[in-house]
Structure formats: structure tokens, C-alpha cells
């Protein structure tokens, strides 16, 4: 039906996709798997016309086509169900259903909607506002809208994150029905269970290249091997502190924030631990960290911190947007993070800033505006801002965007910083980093902790199984 040959895409110097081949046939479900940053999203954006390929061909009905915009993709019947529903929350279900459609009178559209609902077993109230229905129902609505528009190639991006089990069953039945009706379906997912349950064939992407393609039946181990880099087993962990006194206690904590929220999470973090949070993006790690710092409040449950006297430090993933104030200088940040004041002179904090610039290798002067610093410098500045007496450091993707050397330097600093009874909790998409730097690893899946293990008692294989949703994965 549609054929992608040798598709490549580069963003500046970064190679996002390299010579990717993919054949999509009518009446099949094709799975696309790969870890974060493997190039899945880029490939889907090319197919839906949001970005243009750098080279390669898209062949539709034996003709070479040029997808310039989402409109081009829609015209040949490509429709995508996004991870975050792309709808109009303030409009009603019926209004949303009608957007982008033909000019039927609303009464006719209402009948269409109710017919489609009964075909698929969905229960949608046409007059309900979309911001009052669940993510799963919004997804159902979006699916019906795409079908109504005549979508022949349906792309689904992580469709089961954040929806209930019942909604998941309904979705799977709908997908099977669509497949029987001749629709070609592309399913992007991290969840191998889904792939095994639904797909006829699967393509694995890693670092922007296709590393494997199989038809049914699938071998789970082979899929994992193709998805993740192979690493030497059981590297010794860099840290080995003894955990004693509890620092942070989560008791049945739930939250509706983030993609999958947090579902009744209970765990105790102790002094001296370096806890790594594993999981696919949006599985609850980020919400966990924000709750631990106090940026979010839990919907239910209780969080207790034993050392209220010194507040923890939090280093967010998006350093410039969430961690620093772009319009302020390096010196002004140092002043804010220490007890300098109340009057600030041109010398205030200058010595401290110079020391930080020197010992953290920040390229800039005390009066350099933070918005002019590069990614690595921003991270080093954030590290230099952690007050000396902080005993609990919370970090999201601490080495994101850093080269290997900067990353290992960052970890060296962190381990030097932390006293034997200090605690680090960090989330990382990099399983290798988690294994090397943590003393304990918590794996998140769909808002729950599915694996809690000392780092020395697990390995890459078990973690990669746990983050893809396997229950009780073997080592």
C-alpha cells in the first residue's frame, strides 16, 4: 500500500534516521519498536507530513509521492492518533467529531457518530465537552474522527499509555475490526505485550536505523536484543553506600499529573542511597521526582520527608526552561542560591561565582546571561548552584545532551558532593547509566513501580524487560 525506501533525516549534524525501509500493507498491523530516541517519532512525522525527509522515497500505489504538509498526508488517507490527543478540549464531542470533516448537517453527523460508536462498542456522549471525558475516551473520539475522514493508513503512537484496561480492550478490538476491513495500521509502542498480541509484523529501530524486521511469531528475547544496545553484563556499580535512616517516604501516593500519572506508589528512600528511576518517558518517574521535591501535591496518599530543615535540590530535565532564569546572569543565580543579601553590591557573590566558574569549568564570566550558555555549561551551572548542606538531590536526566566526558565528569562531581548519608534520586532513560551510577533501581511502568531492586542484583536484560512492561522479568 505504502512503501518507504531509504528514508534518511538529519537535523544539522544529528542523524535521526538513516536509510530506513518500511512496507505497509492493507489489512495488517505493523509494529514499530525501539527505545527513546531511536527515531520512531521522526519517521512518523515524515509519514504524516509534519517534517520533510532529507533523502529517500515514499511510494504510494507505485507512484513516488512528496509529502509536503499534513494536508498532503491526509489526502492520501494517512491519519495519526497522537499520544497526547490533538483535539479541542472546550468543544463538545460532536463538534470535535465534525472538525476537519465534510459539510454534513450536524444531525447527520450525530447519527454517524452514534452509528460508529455502536459499531465499535464505544460509549460517547455527543454533547459532553471534551475536557470532561477521559484520555481513553478522547482517543476513541479521535479514532472515530479519523475513520469518518476515510483514513486508510492509521498510525497509533503509544496508544495505551494513560488509558484503562477496559478502554485498552475496546481499542484492540477496534483495531482488529479495522484491520479486517482493510486498513493498514502502524503501531508505535514500547510495550512488547501489545506487539505480541496485535501485530502481524514488526520493525525495530535503533539509533535511526532498522535493526530487525520479523513476521509473526515473534521472539521476545530477539526483539529486546535488537531494541537495546548490547552491553557487557554486570558491570560493577560505582557506588555502594549503606542505607540506614529513611529520608523520603511515599505512602500510597497517587497523582493524575503527567502522561500516566502515579498509581498508589509506596516506597521508602533511605539516607545514603543513590536511587535510579528507570522507565519509558512519561511512566511516572518525572511525577515522582516533582512530588518528592514538592513542586506537585499528591491527589491522595502521604509523602513524608525526614529532614525538613534543608530543602532538597531539584535539577529538571529542561534546564533552561525549568531550572534556571534565562534573563539573569551567572552571578545573580549564585546570589539567589545562597544567603547573600539583603543588599546586593557589584561585589556580592562575585568570589563565589568565580570559584564556581573555575571549579565547574563553566565557560562564561560572572555577568554572562544564562540564556547564552550551552547545554553542558547550563548543567554545570545547575550543579554548582546546589547548596553545600543539601542532603537530597533530585534529578531528571542528569546527563541529557552531554557528551561522554561531560557525563562522567558530572557523575564524579555528584558522588564527590554527596556525603555518606546524603541521597540522590535520578531518572534516566539510559539503562546503562542507571546500572552504573545507582545503588538501587526503581522501574516505573504506567505510573506504578514494577521492579524495585538493588542495582547489583539486576542487569540490563531484566531492566529492559521491566521498562517494556513484562511482569516479574527474569534476570
Amino acid at each position: 500500500m505504502i512503501k518507504l525506501t531509504n528514508i534518511s533525516k538529519t537535523f544539522g549534524e544529528v542523524r535521526a534516521l538513516h536509510k530506513v525501509n518500511l512496507n505497509i500493507y492493507p489489512g495488517t498491523i505493523h509494529g514499530i519498536i525501539g527505545e527513546n530516541g531511536a527515531g520512531k517519532s521522526t519517521l512518523m512525522k515524515i509519514l504524516t507530513g509534519f517534517i520533510r525527509r532529507s533523502s529517500g522515497n515514499v511510494i504510494y500505489q507505485s507512484k513516488n509521492i512528496n509529502l509536503q504538509s499534513p494536508r498532503d498526508a491526509r489526502e492520501i488517507g494517512i491519519g495519526m492518533l497522537y499520544q497526547e490527543p490533538l483535539d479541542f478540549p472546550l468543544l463538545t464531542v460532536l463538534d470535535n467529531f465534525m472538525t476537519g470533516g465534510s459539510s454534513f448537517p450536524p444531525s447527520r453527523q450525530r447519527a454517524n457518530l452514534s452509528r460508529l460508536c455502536s459499531d465499535f462498542g464505544f460509549d460517547l456522549d455527543p454533547d459532553c465537552r471534551v475536557n470532561q471525558i477521559t484520555v481513553g475516551e478522547r482517543q476513541q473520539l479521535e479514532l472515530l474522527r479519523l475513520i469518518q475522514q476515510g483514513t486508510k493508513i492509521l498510525i497509533l503512537d503509544e496508544p495505551t499509555s494513560g488509558i484503562s484496561e477496559k478502554q485498552q480492550d475496546l481499542l484492540f478490538t477496534a483495531l482488529r475490526n479495522l484491520k479486517a476491513g482493510g486498513t493498514a495500521i502502524l503501531l508505535v509502542s514500547h510495550k512488547l505485550d501489545e506487539i505480541e498480541l496485535l501485530c502481524d509484523d514488526v520493525t525495530v529501530l535503533r539509533h535511526g536505523e532498522v535493526t530487525a524486521y520479523w513476521k509473526r511469531p515473534f521472539d521476545r528475547d530477539a526483539m529486546l536484543l535488537a531494541m537495546f544496545d548490547t552491553v557487557p553484563e554486570s558491570k560493577p556499580t560505582a557506588v555502594n553506600y549503606t542505607a540506614v535512616e529513611p529520608v523520603l517516604d511515599f505512602h500510597k501516593v497517587s497523582s493524575g499529573k503527567g502522561r500516566s500519572g502515579l498509581n498508589s506508589v509506596s516506597t521508602t528512600i533511605r539516607a545514603g542511597e543513590v536511587v535510579g528511576l528507570a522507565g519509558v518517558d512519561g511512566s511516572g518517574q518525572s511525577v515522582f521526582l516533582q512530588l518528592a521535591f514538592g513542586l506537585l501535591q499528591p491527589d491522595s496518599g502521604r509523602i513524608s520527608r525526614s529532614r525538613e530543615s534543608v530543602s532538597p535540590a531539584f535539577l529538571p530535565a529542561d534546564r533552561l526552561a525549568e531550572g534556571l532564569v534565562p534573563g539573569l546572569t551567572i552571578r545573580e543565580h549564585q546570589i539567589l542560591s545562597s544567603n547573600i543579601g539583603p543588599v546586593i553590591t557589584s561585589k556580592s557573590g562575585l568570589a563565589k561565582t568565580r570559584r564556581a566558574i573555575k571549579s565547574y569549568n563553566i565557560v562564561g564570566s560572572p555577568e554572562t546571561a544564562v540564556k547564552d550558555l550551552s547545554g553542558g555549561n547550563l548543567q554545570r551551572l545547575l550543579l554548582s548552584l546546589i547548596p553545600n548542606d543539601v542532603q537530597l538531590i533530585l534529578m531528571e536526566n542528569p546527563t541529557r545532551g552531554l557528551d561522554l566526558q561531560s557525563a562522567s565528569w558530572t557523575w564524579e562531581q555528584l558522588h564527590n558532593r554527596i556525603t555518606p548519608d546524603g541521597t540522590i534520586i535520578f531518572a534516566s532513560p539510559d539503562l546503562e547509566e542507571l546500572l552504573q551510577q545507582s545503588s538501587r533501581i526503581l522501574t516505573f511502568y504506567n505510573g506504578s513501580i514494577t521492579l524495585d531492586t538493588p542495582a547489583h542484583a539486576t542487569n540490563y536484560r531484566q531492566l529492559s524487560r521491566a521498562v517494556t512492561g513484562e511482569k516479574d522479568p527474569a534476570i
Binding site: 521535591f293 513542586l295 530543602s311 535540590a313 531539584f314 529538571p316 526552561a321 525549568e322 531550572g323 534556571l324 532564569v325 534565562p326 534573563g327 539573569l328 545573580e332 543565580h333 546570589i335 539567589l336 542560591s337 547573600i340 543579601g341 539583603p342 543588599v343 546586593i344 553590591t345
Partner: protein
Amino acid sequence: MTSSLGIPRFIIITVPALGVVSLLLLSLGISPLTIAITLARGSVLSWLKFNHVLSVWIPLLLCSCGLLFTFRAGLWNIGIEGQVVCGAIGATLVLRLGNTYLPAAMLLSLSFLSAFLAGGVWGALAGFLKNRGGVNEIFGGLGLNFVAQGAILWFILGPWKREGMASMSGTDLFARELWMWVPRGWRTAPAALILTVTVFLFTAFILSATRFGLKIKAVGLNPKASRLFGINPDLTGFTAMIIGGGLAGLAGAVQVSCVYHRLIPSISSGYGYLALLIVMLANYKVTLTPIICLLFACLTAGSIQLPITLQIDSSLSGVIQGTLVLSGLLAHGLQQRRLLRKGS
């Protein structure tokens, strides 16, 4: 102070604005030069006229100082007009107390304190609505402006009405000893002038040389990140609203005790709104604010001459002020856009 093209910002803003106004005047058959001379004659070319300019400059600068605090915290304090009105009511409250046996100077000082508190409370109310009720400070402030306007009318026509009859011309004049002292040949009270300069210096000091000022700036630029530095953005914004409202309240007190010596319905003279334009034109910079206040005060004071000598409506000064601000915003917007393009 220069644009990326190397031309002073001042020229980039004033030349197009004055050009547009000149064209407008020429198309109406009026010489821009005559207007300029009339405006200058009416504002700076005589001591008495310049005194009138100062009496406009004082409340304008007080309001602008208040706005510098709120803008720095990332807040659009549209409610400033209502805060001036509340300040005026607060001052009148003290000045009407009557037999308190307190010396006049003490009563006058108390009236300024009361004005600061009243304006501050009005600012706090907008801040409270924002923090607790999720009401944007623009809408909250606008609503509170109407409430304040209603309140001042109620006071003037109700409890504080003139002997014998209520009148839109305001309350009775205060006792002579409660008028601020104005030297012979002056129109402005030196005490008000000193107060205003002090408030300006205080504003400049707090905003640029204290930890508190830095906190306000951090909150205005990135409230999310400011929390990581232990700053409570809601509380900081709330404090900025109280200070901003308080300073606007002082402007109200000046209007009551130095200019009108009574409470009138239009006591704010629209200075709150005008101050919003001034601070925007100053690009939210402390140092430029008093200079632009002076320019706007000259235009406002000078324009009174227009209907008398040229039979042109005095609202022309508003046209000039508005064009300047639009031109300033346009220059700023274009500069930002060029920076963004360079960045990407």
C-alpha cells in the same frame, strides 16, 4: 540603549511617532511647528507652567514606580487606576477626621500612610484574586477599577456630601491648614516633590540592589524555576502588588492634599493608565522612567494651551503619547523578533 542597527533606540521610537503625528496635523492644515511651540510655551517656558508640569509629574512618577515593581514580577497591574482612587479615599478619610487635636503635619503624614495602606489593600485584592481564585490580574484589576470608581462616587454623593447638597464637583474643601504647604510663586508642594524623588530612589534601590529585587525579577522571568531557588512566586507577586498598589495610593494622596484639596470623582485624572504607557515606553527600565514621566507631564500640561490659543482639542497630547508608546512597542517587538531569528 542602541538598537542592533547602531541607531539610538530613542530616535527609532520618536522619529516615526512624531512623523506620523506631523503628517496627521499637516493633513488637517495645522503646522506641527506651531503645535510644538504652543506645547513648549504651555509647559517649560515659564516657571509657573513648569510648576504645573511638576504637579503632573509627581503622581505619574509615583504610579510608574508602583508599576515597575509589578511589571518586574511579570504582572500587568491594570488595577492601578483603582489603586490611585483608593489611595485618594484613604487620604480623605484621615483629612476629614476633624477634631483630633493632632498637628496638621501629623494628620497629613497619617493621610499619606492611610493612602498607602488603602492602595496596597486594593493591589493585594487583585493579587489575592489571582493566587486564590485564579483570576488573571488584568481582569481582576479592571473589575476592581470599576468598584473603586463606584466607591468614590458613593463617598462623594453619600457620607461625604457637601453641606446641604450632594454634588459631582466633589466634597467640601479641607480646612486650609490641611493643605500641603506651597511656597509663594509655586504650584507644587516641595514636600510632595521630596517624597516622590525619595520613592523613586527607593524603587531603584530595591529593584536593582537588593536580594528582594532580584527575587521579584526571577519570578517575573521564570516563576517555575524560581521555586527551585526556594522562592514562592505567588507570595512574591502578591508583595509586589501590595507595594505597587501602595505607591499608586500615594499618588492619590498627592492629588487630594496638594492639587484639589478635596475628593473629586475624577481624582486619578487617568494617571494610572498613563503610567502604564510610560513604563512600557521606558521598556520597564528604572532609569528612563522619570524622564519619560517628565515628557508626558509636559505634553499633558502643555496641551491645556491648545484650545485656548489654537482652538485645537487638548486630547492631541493623548494622540502624541499613544503614538509614542505604539512606536516604542513596535520597535521593541521588531528587535525581539530579530534576536529570535538570529538565535534560530
